[in-house]
């Protein structure tokens, strides 16, 4: 993996894309808050995955509709407008009208159909967007589009992120890159996970949809910092075909997964209030679904997450969390290692827990269900007093 360097960062690492990030005044801090990513083609293939929350923000509903027209297999996307400083969630009919107006405004300047403009928003929910600031921001971003704009765009979508998140993967002559923001719902006010991934491979939208679905499953869907799910989560994959080269579908999947996993791990690494990054690896499962269920069960146990914060290799809390899932296993055969020490063998006491060193920032939990050959990994964070402090501050 090559992190993008100046001039070829994130969403503009792939050829055929321009981007910009500007200050529109949505954030009180005066930091950049509006980004635009434009696909100059020749292709405008696109696919998206969205929050499973049934309370969806207006931009999620809009962008889902765009990608369904005429159908997901042939959907096209010319541009994406993203803003921080306001989620436009729980804002009713006015919120949807504001999103549509944003897309229409950009579409007019780009001379394309409004349904070819995706919209993503992140920030406080329940508050209307200040359109008198947002639309001039879109104008400014479109006026500043550049093939070097990937870094500026990545900065403009940050909320409580401490740094911009970009990644690049190269596959022969094809480049795939992306940006993301969010801290896995660890931040105040439902900080959203947004990501745009671009590739200059030749690919149609149906291929992108299959690829993004699986890549997201192996990356963004396997980071779970606090089990909460935003109203705005969106990941978009755009292909320009500007490299003139096609990848095999497995090659494309590898490239997109590499970028998505890199971004997802940057999210976990930047999760607010977290002191540890925890990799929960389940092996010996009957199915991948079982492995994910068991790992996610552990990732969502507050008791386990507190124990990791206290550097306590508490395998009892791990077993108890696995036991609450529907993953198939025999409680008398499960083994658990923490940072390489098998503290639990056969569902009971294993090696000396005092041998476990949890002083580093990275913690590896390995769970062997002894029930098959499938495996999966889920990443999470510890639960800390800082998390509580950051999420209990009065929101307004």
């Amino acid at each position: 993996m090559t992190r993008g360097t100046s001039g070829a960062v994130g969403v503009t690492a792939a050829s055929g894309f321009r981007a910009a990030g500007v200050v529109a005044g949505l954030k009180n801090s005066g930091k950049p808050d509006v980004a635009v990513v434009v696909n100059d083609g020749p292709l405008q293939s696109a696919a998206g995955v969205f929050t499973a929350n049934r309370v969806k923000a207006a931009p999620v509903i809009w962008t889902q509709q765009c990608l369904a027209k005429p159908d997901a297999a042939t959907s096209q996307m010319r541009a994406v407008v993203l803003n921080s400083g306001g989620a436009n969630a729980c804002t009713g009919a006015q919120g949807f009208a504001d999103t549509r107006e944003t897309a229409e405004h950009a579409a007019e300047l780009l001379d394309c159909d409004p349904t070819r403009v995706g919209v993503c928003s992140t920030g406080l929910i329940g508050t209307p967007l200040p359109m008198d600031l947002l639309l001039p921001g879109v104008d400014a971003a479109l006026a500043n589009l550049s093939p070097d704009g990937g870094s500026a765009a990545a900065h403009a979508i940050m909320t409580t992120d401490t740094h911009a998140k970009t990644a690049v993967a190269r596959t022969g002559l094809v480049t795939t890159g992306g940006m993301a923001k969010g801290a896995g719902m660890l931040a105040p006010e439902l900080a959203t996970m947004l990501s745009v991934i671009t590739t200059d491979a030749i690919a149609d939208s149906a291929t992108l949809a299959r690829t993004l679905s699986r890549a997201a499953e192996l990356s963004f869907n396997r980071v779970d910092s606090d089990g909460c799910m935003s109203t705005n989560d969106t990941v978009l994959l755009l292909a320009s075909g500007a490299s003139g080269h096609e990848l095999t579908e497995p090659q494309l999947l590898d490239a997109v997964t590499e970028v998505a996993q890199d971004l997802a791990l940057q999210l976990i690494g930047d999760a607010e209030g977290a002191g540890k990054e925890i990799r929960i690896e389940v092996i010996g499962a009957e199915s991948e679904g079982d492995a994910v269920a068991a790992a996610r069960g552990v990732a969502r146990s507050n008791l386990f997450k507190c124990a990791v914060h206290g550097e306590d290799p508490n395998w009892g809390r791990i077993l108890s969390a696995v036991g609450t899932t529907d993953a198939r296993f025999d409680p008398n055969r499960i083994d658990v290692a923490v940072n390489g020490v098998w503290v639990c063998r056969g569902g009971g006491v294993g090696e000396d827990r005092n041998l476990v060193d949890m002083s580093g920032r990275e913690v590896h939990v390995l769970i062997d269900l002894h029930n098959g050959n499938a495996s999966a990994t889920v990443w999470t964070n510890d639960l800390t007093a800082d998390y509580v402090h950051e999420n209990s501050a009065y929101s307004s």
Copy 2:
């Protein structure tokens, strides 16, 4: 509801029962740690509900088997032995042998079949019970049985509880009482919820099983302080028939539910590290299941629980949590009130959030799904830095 007074407290409030609590030395603190409850009849009807965790402690497996012999409808229980200071969970074959030996030991002294002796344990998991201390403790408890022993028994099952928990309900000439321990999994090392409820009503085991199942659903299953589930959770219901009176099944259900709810709310009130007790009431649901699902989704949202800690009436986090459940509702019709102020109307901004007073210890969240006539209430706690501190201390 009448709380038991001296001489008629908890499990010995109902006639036909004796109990004791003694110091066996299982706890390093030297506090009482072994309790016995004996049913002197004339009936020995019994029923139980147990943790749904598939990692079950030896005493859970034993007691479930006892109540299944010959079948749940005719099962009989002469006594229950309970110990704190060790959960006997994840202890393998030796752990089960220890539980059986405990039951056999008590059965010999009580001159009954060992399968008529239930066993409950709570404390650290993954550590064998010191049988050389436990069995003499059972002897001492049986030697100290008293119709006034309810308070001593309630004290002997405490782990991190700050006070003993008992309750009594009277229905004409019938008395129903109970004791409980645990802090809803909020305590270090999977502190377990244990409860024994006794009644002197005439009732068979089949009736008790139906009654306990529904009463637990309306009480213990609706308190959810941190979403974690113990390996040892057990609730037992014993009937002596000593009052000579029978209740109608609805009357019995009312009495048992009253005691169980009283105990469950005492658990929430004593949850470690918690600063607030939160009552999440869902109305307008299509089914009771939908109402419970929506309320539980909110109760398990760390972001929401942090907001309550910060006295922030953050309805966005509430909507987002409801949106992650499978409860049926229209996101554009949901209303949410916090302590009487409808801060969310029709899925958007409602009354002024500054009108909400959350300074008290009790917080009431009322959610109207506008989708039917069913309702349910789930109780939980806020998420605090104290919770993290208490659960991240090194366990040994």
